[in-house]
Amino acid sequence: MSDNTNVTRTNQTSNVTRTVQKENMPRAALAPAVDIAEGASGITLFADMPGVSKERLTIQVEGDNLTIEGQAQVDVPENIELLHSEVRSPYFRRSFTLSRDLDPAKIEATLRNGVLQLHIPKSEEARPKRIDVKVA
């Protein structure tokens, strides 16, 4: 008898931990395809995030970590029955580590036709400088 109660109790606790884990776990996310290029002024990042509107997009910088995430929303008319489905409304998320040479305070973001463009300028100290040689 006591064994039985023990078993049920452990089952219950494991159930509880499982639900807690589920809540804490990040949502299943799709990593958007990106292009990253570095120029003299900084880094430009392009990410494909179709179906994500400006309101549902978040860009966060925490320390040297940059995270972009957004929920794509595909409006399907109500009275329609799906015959074939390849695209659902994915949740996009991707994180990047920023170099210390970059200035995260001056990130510029634009969203156009489902493509997010981020420009992360280099901090003043990290920019290539040309030093004029004075002729004495």
């Binding site: 395809a33 120029g39 463009q117």
Partner: protein, 95 residues
């Protein structure tokens, strides 16, 4: 029909209907602002697709090729093909 087409100018998408086949085609060019920064540019990642694409879908028999509508928003293309009037369910009243 809904298709993801991020970064494509809506004017560059070609939608044609021919004998029950709906075809979508277009080209995605690399962003003009890319590589425009002057000087040397180092590319760290290039995962996004560039080039021409084409997708052909056969339409059901009751689709009306004369009534195709297309919308584009946030990189998502919505194409609506209406059903033919004759194939819509009708109620026939008994006189």
């Amino acid at each position: 029909m809904i298709a993801f087409a991020p970064g494509i100018d809506p004017k560059e998408i070609e939608i044609t209907v021919d004998r029950g086949l709906l075809s979508l085609s277009g080209e995605r060019r690399s962003d003009p602002s890319q590589g425009q920064q002057g000087g040397q540019t180092n590319t760290y990642a290039q995962e996004r697709f560039t080039g021409r694409f084409r997708r052909v879908i056969s339409l059901p028999e009751d689709a009306d090729p004369g009534k195709v509508e297309a919308k584009f928003r946030d990189g998502v293309l919505h194409v609506t093909v209406a059903k033919k009037e004759s194939s819509k369910p009708r109620q026939i009243s008994v006189s």
